[in-house]
């Protein structure tokens, strides 16, 4: 082994933490006194730093791919955006009506406050050769919640759309499938971003319907702290169950 090879091997052992006490003393001394040795050492460190930078860049790309897939999962089609406006107007109308209600029992409060979420998607579509999707929305609109729920489930199996999950939860509530409805709203709230407020509102109603007033109260407290139309209703319900 010539001097240069010996030096490289020594440096490699040094950077890999495999060096003996005796060798370490030699390395430390030569790093201070031998310019060529120091250059070899700096080159080795540069290579290792380059390897690590390359690794970090590769892992960064991997994280960016994960981020893309998370964001894509949470993307909502534009056609569902109008639901927010529909929900707000529904809740305002509901509020006036409910305000007159004097009943305090959970079951009666549920009946007073629950109105299925309004969907107008079916009315905007052609009825010639209707697709499964069209039929599902028409069934929901016409109050055939059993058919609507079956078709919504089938649509969700193909593509998880938060707007459909919201309607499925409502259909289940109408069919008295409270546990299933609860699960729909929990999924909507935990896996998607677009209908958090609606999901919480209906989840609170699910708890009220099943007599779990404490859980309903927790949700309404959260909603009451927001600045949206549901907050007023949530505060009202909180007062009534207290």
């Amino acid at each position: 082994m010539n001097n240069s090879e010996y030096d490289i091997r020594l440096i490699e052992k040094f950077v890999d933490n495999e060096i003996s006490e005796e060798e370490l003393t030699i390395v430390n001394k030569r790093l201070l006194t031998d310019t060529d040795f120091k250059l070899l050492y700096l080159q080795e460190k540069t290579i290792i730093e380059g390897i690590r930078l390359q690794g970090l860049q590769k892992d960064l790309l991997y994280l960016k791919d994960i981020e893309k897939s998370i964001s894509a999962k949470k993307q909502t089609p534009n056609r569902f955006r109008w639901y927010y406006a529909a929900a707000a107007s529904l809740i305002c109308a509901l509020g006036v009506w409910v305000y007159q209600s004097t009943s305090q029992s959970p079951e009666k409060l549920y009946l007073a406050y629950f109105k299925p979420y309004v969907s107008i998607e079916a009315t905007t579509r052609s009825n010639i050769n209707p697709t499964e999707r069209t039929v599902a929305f028409q069934a929901y609109e016409q109050g055939d919640y059993k058919l609507a729920a079956t078709l919504f489930k089938s649509l969700l199996a193909e593509n998880k759309e938060p707007g459909i999950l919201l309607l499925l939860g409502n259909a289940n509530l109408m069919l008295d499938n409270t546990t299933e409805a609860k699960n729909n709203f929990i999924t909507l709230y935990t896996e998607f971003d677009d209908y958090d407020i609606q999901a919480k509102w209906y989840l609170g109603l699910c708890y009220l319907k099943s007599g779990d007033v404490e859980k309903a109260r927790t949700i309404w407290k959260e909603l009451g702290e927001t600045e949206i139309s549901y907050a007023i209703k949530a505060k009202e319900l909180l007062k009534k169950v207290d």
């Binding site: 460190k45 290579i47 930078l53 390359q54 994280l63 981020e67």
Partner: protein
Amino acid sequence: MIQNELLSKIKNGGQAELGLIYEEYRLEFIQWIMKEYHCSIDDSKDIYQVTILIFYDNVRQGKLERLVSSVKTYLYGIGKNIALETIRKQNKNTPIDQEKWFKEFLIDETEITLEEDKAQAVKNALLKLGEPCRQLIELFYYERKTMEDIATQLDYKNAETAKNQKCKCMARLRKIVEREFTKLTTAISHEQQ
């Protein structure tokens, strides 16, 4: 996930584990950085990605054998520094320079400033090195796998064989890097003429 379990997952795992950890703290961290430092959603995600990779690397390099606080606190500590520096130095409309953060992090570790062209030269050299040498070297220097793990993963007879192979691969890489650096020097001198 229990803290020690998580550290051991990072040390023994690969990209799949990195993905799991990324998702575990993602939402809470991004919401926190947006609220606390008024960062945009895109900047918050960029900060989170750098934060997770620095944390991940610290664990793998053995700088974090045990956590004195929770993983969350540790991540928030890294994220806070990046957010504050970003606010201080950068224009709000400029995206976060993630590579710059990695380089600064590596400088802290190695005390060597990796210049842009040299980083590119090493990258080119790694590509020219080919397999399985490239993978072996990455497993050893980036993922910090033991020779035993590398031998298992790359199907070498034993740790000693893997170690010998690593030395040979490094020798080849040094030669390629030298050629890349020479090209770089030639290019610079041509530009100056």
